[in-house]
Every structure is written in structure tokens, then in C-alpha cells.
Assembly symmetry: C2
Homo-oligomer: 116 residues x 2
């Protein structure tokens, strides 16, 4: 069960084979939700921008220009990533800062890794 439970908070080990267990419908739906959150060009760019930012976090204020989308659209995409547990949001004064949850990305990654 552990191998398909990617909702746990402890980071999974790297290269743990995961698709050796057939996913049931609930597990598949849960994993699909996280992958859907990642499976959009704008959201991937947001994630990579945050991942490569100086301190692993970034202020929303610059993002609309960086991804070429309106501010409401960027807000929408960020909320999807937060809801999927892939980003963390922190309010600092007027601005909102977003940080990547690398442990969560690693969990998704592990599920896809094939047995070594």
C-alpha cells in the first residue's frame, strides 16, 4: 500500500519502484488529479520558475509578465497547483509568495519510476 500512497508527507525514497502494483480506481483518480495539475504548459512554467528562483520561492507580482498570461489567469493556475499540494502559499504584506513542495514532486516522480 505504501508504494501507491503518494499523499503521505514523508518524502518517498528515490527510485522506489511503484508501478509494480496495479492501481485501483481511487488511487488512479487521486494520482490523475496531481498529474492533471502538472499537465499544463503554463503551470509547468510556473513550477519551473519557482523551482529555479533564488530562494526557491517567488513573488506573484512578476509571474503574469513571465508567463505571458493575465493576472487572474495566473492566480487561477497557482490555486490549482496549491490545491494539488505542489505549491505552498505564504502571504507577506501585500504580496503572496509561492514555494515548491519538492517532496510532493518527488512522490509523483517515484510513482512513475520503473524497477531498477
Amino acid at each position: 500500500m505504501k508504494v501507491v500512497d503518494f499523499t503521505e508527507t514523508t518524502p518517498a525514497l528515490c527510485c522506489t519502484p511503484l508501478l509494480q502494483v496495479t492501481l485501483d480506481e481511487d488511487q488512479a483518480a487521486e494520482l490523475a488529479d496531481v498529474l492533471k495539475a502538472l499537465a499544463d504548459p503554463v503551470r509547468l512554467r510556473l513550477v519551473s520558475l519557482i523551482a529555479t528562483a533564488a530562494d526557491g520561492e517567488i513573488c506573484t507580482c512578476d509571474l503574469p509578465a513571465l508567463v505571458g498570461r493575465s493576472q487572474p489567469t495566473v492566480s487561477h493556475h497557482l490555486s490549482i497547483l496549491v490545491k494539488a499540494g505542489l505549491l505552498e502559499r505564504e502571504q507577506r504584506g501585500k504580496w503572496a509568495w509561492f514555494a515548491l513542495r519538492r517532496d510532493r514532486l518527488a512522490q509523483v516522480s517515484d510513482i512513475l519510476v520503473n524497477p531498477g
Copy 2:
């Protein structure tokens, strides 16, 4: 460039950090296409069924019953997975057999892995 080019055929090393490079629009669109192919519950179940099958491959004939979808729907999902490079199709007599391209799954997985 290598770190974001997941279309190459050689399997990427496990745990190579990948999101240290900001994706441009083309790279993001390309990666999103592969993730979209995975981001569906039925397709995830198909992938996991094939991954856990006896010889790493499975005959289409049983799949509609296993995932609870009609034959055309399963055929549709399989073609999406093949087009994304995640499955390989082989015709054997009347039946079509599908095998998982684990190298390709590993590439996608690596892109999501954070630096160790």
C-alpha cells in the same frame, strides 16, 4: 539542454535534478503533452495493468473488462498512450499486445525529481 530534453531515447539517470532549468514555452508544451497522456484515471490504470502484467505486456482483449470501459474507449486511451511514447504496440495474429516503455516513464519521472 539535456536536462529538459526528455524526448531522447536513452534512459535518463535516476534522480537527476531537472527542474533547475526554467522551461521555455516549447519545452513546457512538450512535457505537458506527455503528462496529459498520463493524467487520466483510466490511462493510469491501463499503464499499471500493463506494468504489472506477467511479461510486461498485455493483450488488449481483456482490457475493456478490467477498466470498465467500452472497447472503443479503451482503444482511444491506448492510442493516446502510444502517441505519447509511453506504450509500444505489437500486432500478433488477431490480437494487439501493448508493452510499457519504462525508459520513457523514467524520463518523465526524472524531470520532476528535485535535487538531492
